[in-house]
């Protein structure tokens, strides 16, 4: 067998690894080859035919997703591929036309609009005018695939990504193909509900609007939303996600590829967990309890002074939510030192599911341990309490802390003992570092479209309070805080990303 290790794509020579197909090499090198049924995490079906390319010397175009870069054994020359030749383009345009023959063209009501590959490629390859004037095939619409997913067979291009996902990733086989020819549709097991908790991933991998989320259904058009790269704080796995929101509401969370953490996936529980962010009892502005026991809205500056005054009088411990960032936990430690107490973190324990979800629920529990925070196992006194969500800091811990200064997202989570309350952002609204269960440091970024306006970052509030306590703490800013953490011996072997770093940066201990 000839030993060929390179492939020519559009005249440029690229090396490849054994077993790689043309589309993989093309994508690795930044070439845009359209695809629907190809997904790097699933087996190759080659049925959508949109990724066809020209192989020089071959009259027939071939699908690049299944075309191995290694030439057949009897050929000793590297393959020469053209992705933008007349043949390749006309083959793809022809496929595009076929895909749209029976497509309902209901983009105005389709949630996928804006992130739909049919839209993208028809903009690239399609023609303005439809060649077909015949009636379109009618297929089932608005079919429930369990409680979370809606299937529209008319929009479906039968790429079988969802079927393959349930077969290969979750191995639960709920989905299958039914019918034949142009009446082929995806059908679901008669149990009517997914056994797997990873079903909503099929919505993400569906290249068109055939599978949409019941939760996100018709909530917002994509182009109104703000997106940010973040980390799921549902458990300590720290799945990489993209948060989406608009006008202060969080609307969805989608997994972001990270080969070392969550690959392309995330669990439904984590995905739908965001709803606590939109609670009607969100705290938007700082509040101070007046002498007659009534809550009054206050400016940030007044609240900081009031908090410092209250803490000077009380002193004591600090209890933080296990879902706080590394920066917040570090400052909590400083604050506790200034108050003459100790900082502890609270986190729940759930059940691992054997795939992504781990038992540890505190998203930054590993970070807390590195910083040297002890885990709060039972209720104990703490002057400062930071509550992001009920799950990690349940009522018993909150009430037992007898705290005077409270940082909380939800007014319902503020214990009666509180004197000053600061609004706390949810995980989608705060910048910061998280250390996941494997010791990997990850960056979460604030999504400006989510949460109350003008939310002061908690680390700034904590620094201001520390400053007011006359404990000799200087303003560091986020870079300074990260540098201070980095200087600790426990972080000697871990390199923390700079505060401005993009979310892609991450280091493993």
């Amino acid at each position: 067998m000839a030993d060929v290790k390179t492939v020519f794509i559009n005249g440029v020579e690229y090396p490849f690894d054994a077993g790689q197909t043309v589309i993989q090499v093309a994508h690795e090198n930044g070439l845009d080859v359209p695809h629907y049924c190809y997904h790097p995490g699933l087996s190759i079906a080659g049925n959508c035919r949109i990724c066809m390319v020209e192989v020089e010397g071959d009259a027939k175009p071939q699908v690049s997703c299944k075309l191995e870069c290694a030439p057949p054994p009897w050929v000793s020359e590297p393959l020469r591929i053209q992705t933008e030749s007349e043949l390749a383009k006309s083959a793809r345009a022809g496929t595009m036309e076929m895909l749209l023959v029976n497509h309902p063209l209901d983009c105005p009501i389709c949630d996928q609009a804006g992130e739909c590959h049919l839209q993208d490629y028809s903009y690239q390859l399609g023609q303005g005018q439809a060649s077909s004037s015949t009636a379109k095939t009618k297929l089932p619409k608005n079919v429930a695939f369990g409680e979370k997913i809606v299937y529209d067979a008319e929009r479906c291009i039968k790429c079988t990504l969802c079927v393959r996902f349930c077969e290969e990733v979750t191995e639960t086989n709920e989905l299958n193909l039914g019918g034949r020819g142009d009446e082929e549709i995806v059908i679901m097991s008669s149990k009517g509900e997914f056994e797997t908790d990873y079903s909503m991933n099929i919505i993400d991998i569906c290249p068109v609007g055939a599978l949409t989320s019941r939760d996100f259904r018709f909530k917002s058009r994509l182009w109104f939303m703000d997106f940010a790269d973040s980390v799921c704080t549902g458990c300590a796995r720290g799945c990489n996600v993209i948060t989406g929101g608009r006008n202060g509401s969080m609307m969805r969370m989608e997994p972001r590829h990270n080969a070392d953490v969550n690959q392309w996936w995330m669990c439904d529980q984590g995905r739908l967990d965001y709803r606590y962010v939109n609670t009607p009892t969100r705290i938007a502005t700082p509040r101070i309890k007046t002498a007659d026991g009534v809550w009054a809205a206050a400016t940030v500056d007044d609240a900081i002074l009031a908090a410092a005054a209250a803490l000077k009088a009380a002193g004591g411990n600090v209890l933080v939510d296990g879902g706080c960032t590394l920066e917040e936990m570090h400052l909590a430690q400083q604050l506790a030192a200034a108050l003459g107490g100790k900082a502890t973190y609270a986190a729940a324990t759930g059940e691992a599911d054997g795939f992504l979800r781990v038992a540890e629920q505190g998203a930054n529990a590993a970070g807390a341990e590195l910083l040297g925070l002890a885990r709060a196992t039972k209720a104990g006194a703490a002057a400062v309490l930071v509550v992001e969500r009920d799950a990690n800091v349940p009522q018993a811990l909150r009430d037992g802390a007898d705290a005077v200064v409270v940082f909380a997202t939800d007014a319902d989570h503020v214990p009666a003992s509180a004197q000053v309350v600061f609004p706390f952002g949810s995980s989608a609204e705060r910048d910061g570092l998280f250390v996941n269960t494997d010791g990997r440091v990850q960056v979460a970024q604030r999504n400006p479209g989510i949460g109350p306006d003008n939310l002061t970052p908690p680390y700034e509030l904590l620094e201001e309070i520390l400053g007011e306590l006359d404990a000799g703490y200087d303003w560091h800013g986020r870079d300074g805080i990260v540098a201070a953490i980095q200087a600790q011996p426990a972080f000697a072997k871990i390199s923390l990303p700079a505060a401005q770093a993009t979310a892609e940066v991450g280091a493993t201990s």
Binding site: P61, V63, S90, T95, V101, T137, K158, G179, E184
Partner: protein
């Protein structure tokens, strides 16, 4: 006895047995009067009473070749003999069988399978049914020879569900063979030659005749063809090396072993020494005729008989008062021949040369009473109905073509529709996983090009001004062949 069986037996019994399988028939030449005689090698036992039972088959020489191979030949010698015979696949593609067997790896720990393609769903094709119903032991012997040559373990005979009698006869033959020690462990006393055979019934899907679709169906899935490579010889049924052959192909193997590959290669049409792609058409072939002719049926000839001879000498010619308009020479999926193009010999290369193909060598004849637009609609409906739905151009394109033909038939078509069809042909042919879409395009495109005037005649105000001339010369109408 079922009506079908009776009819088949009757048809077979009317034929004169011109050659006994035992004696090697001499090279056939066209008779002095120009007629083309049958050469009955495969069909030698057709018409013999109870030819499907083991005692009768044994009397007529069944399993002698198997015995010969096992006792006197190595597996490699069997493959060489088949290679020498130049026998090509009889299912339509015409791939050299010996070469295919040679691809099966010999150094593998995996089980190896033979899947016998008896899913004869190609419209107009019924030749394998005759073999399975009238000589199942010949088929089984061929399978066993293949098993011996390639060292495989299990034979699955994938018979289409619409052939209940074939299924029953094959199951009966397997049962008889098992009892006679021709299946199972240490066959005919050969240590380590263990083969099992099972009939696997299909359930009504044309696509399962495609070899990889058949493998999927055999594995209990929907018959969605696989992308090749990997080829079945390396990774086939259940992920193991698999040989897939047509019934008729393997039925040839016993006589090849008995008389030698060279004898078989001498029959039929020799390869063209100047053209490496013209591999010749060795041996005999079951050929069939159906449609608008007096006596449809199935006969065995050496390759070389022309389509016209077949129709006139055996098919009895056109029905009274009608003239033949078009012939699809091999199953539904081959380009059509017009009445003027019928003097071409039935053979793999000769038919390709005139822009058609041998396919399954069972021709469908259409006469002047046939409306070609409606015929196209019928053909397009078949492929639309049988498209598995896996890949886009076929799933959407076949239905789209059908809709256009329906529109033209209803009188709502315009010449732009014909251009649109040509555009679709380009976007469908060669753009799919398997050849079903190609098979849909070939007959439709050839009919559209050769009988364009009939389409234009259905378009009010758009009739071809030269329609009269075109009709007069009919087939002489310019053919924009491929």
């Amino acid at each position: 006895m079922t009506a079908k069986k009776k009819a088949a037996a009757k048809k077979a019994s009317t034929k004169k047995a011109s050659a006994k399988k035992a004696a090697a028939p001499a090279k056939v030449v066209r008779a002095a009067d120009g007629s083309y005689p049958e050469t009955r090698i495969l069909s030698a036992n057709f018409g013999v009473k109870d030819s499907w039972t083991l005692p009768v088959a044994k009397k007529n020489g069944a399993y002698k070749s198997l015995e010969k191979a096992i006792k006197t030949m190595t597996p490699a010698e069997v493959i060489d003999e088949v290679k020498t015979s130049r026998v090509r696949g009889r299912g339509g593609a015409g791939f050299p069988t010996g070469v295919k067997w040679g691809f099966v790896p010999t150094d593998t720990d995996k089980a190896k399978y033979l899947v016998l393609n008896a899913d004869e769903s190609e419209p107009g094709t019924f030749k394998d049914r005759f073999l399975m119903e009238l000589d199942p032991h010949l088929v089984l012997e061929g399978c066993l020879l293949c098993a011996y040559a390639t060292g495989l373990d299990v034979i699955y005979i994938y018979v289409r569900g619409e052939y209940p009698l074939s299924i029953a006869r094959l199951e009966g033959a397997i049962e008889e063979a098992r009892e006679a020690g021709l299946l199972g462990k240490d066959i005919l006393g050969k240590k380590g030659f263990n083969v099992e055979a099972h009939v696997h019934p299909g359930a009504g899907a044309y696509i399962c005749g495609e070899e990889t679709g058949m493998l999927e169906s055999l594995e209990g899935k929907r018959g969605h063809p696989r992308i090749k490579p990997p080829f079945p010889a390396v990774e086939g049924a259940f992920g193991c090396p698999t040989v897939i052959n047509n019934v008729e192909t393997l039925a040839h193997v016993p006589s090849i072993i008995e008389h030698g590959g060279a004898w078989f290669g001498d029959l039929g049409i020799a390869p063209d020494p100047d053209n490496p792609r013209a591999m010749g058409s060795a041996g005999t072939k079951l050929m069939g005729l159906s449609g608008d002719i007096k006596t449809p049926g199935c006969w065995e000839f050496e390759f070389g008989i022309t389509v016209r001879e077949l129709i006139e000498q055996y098919g009895g010619g056109a029905l009274d008062g009608r003239t033949i308009k078009a012939v699809i020479p091999g199953g539904l999926s081959m380009p059509v021949l017009t009445a003027d193009e019928l003097d071409v010999p039935m053979g793999f290369d000769a038919l390709v040369k005139v822009g058609s193909g041998l396919g399954t060598a069972t021709a469908i004849v259409m006469d002047d009473a046939c409306d070609m637009v409606e015929a196209c609609e019928n053909i397009a409906h078949f492929f639309a109905d049988e498209s598995c739905g896996q890949c886009t151009p076929c799933r959407e394109g076949c239905h789209w073509m059908e809709k256009i033909f329906t529109r033209i038939k209803a009188g709502d078509g315009t010449p732009a529709d014909l251009d649109l069809l040509e555009h679709l042909f380009v976007n469908i042919e060669g753009r799919t996983i398997c050849a079903l879409a190609d098979a849909a395009v070939w007959p439709l495109r050839s009919i559209l090009r050769k009988f364009r005037h009939e389409f234009l005649a259905k378009m009010p105000g758009h009739a071809d001004p030269h329609a009269a001339d075109a009709k007069a010369s009919d087939a002489a109408a310019p053919v924009g062949a491929k």
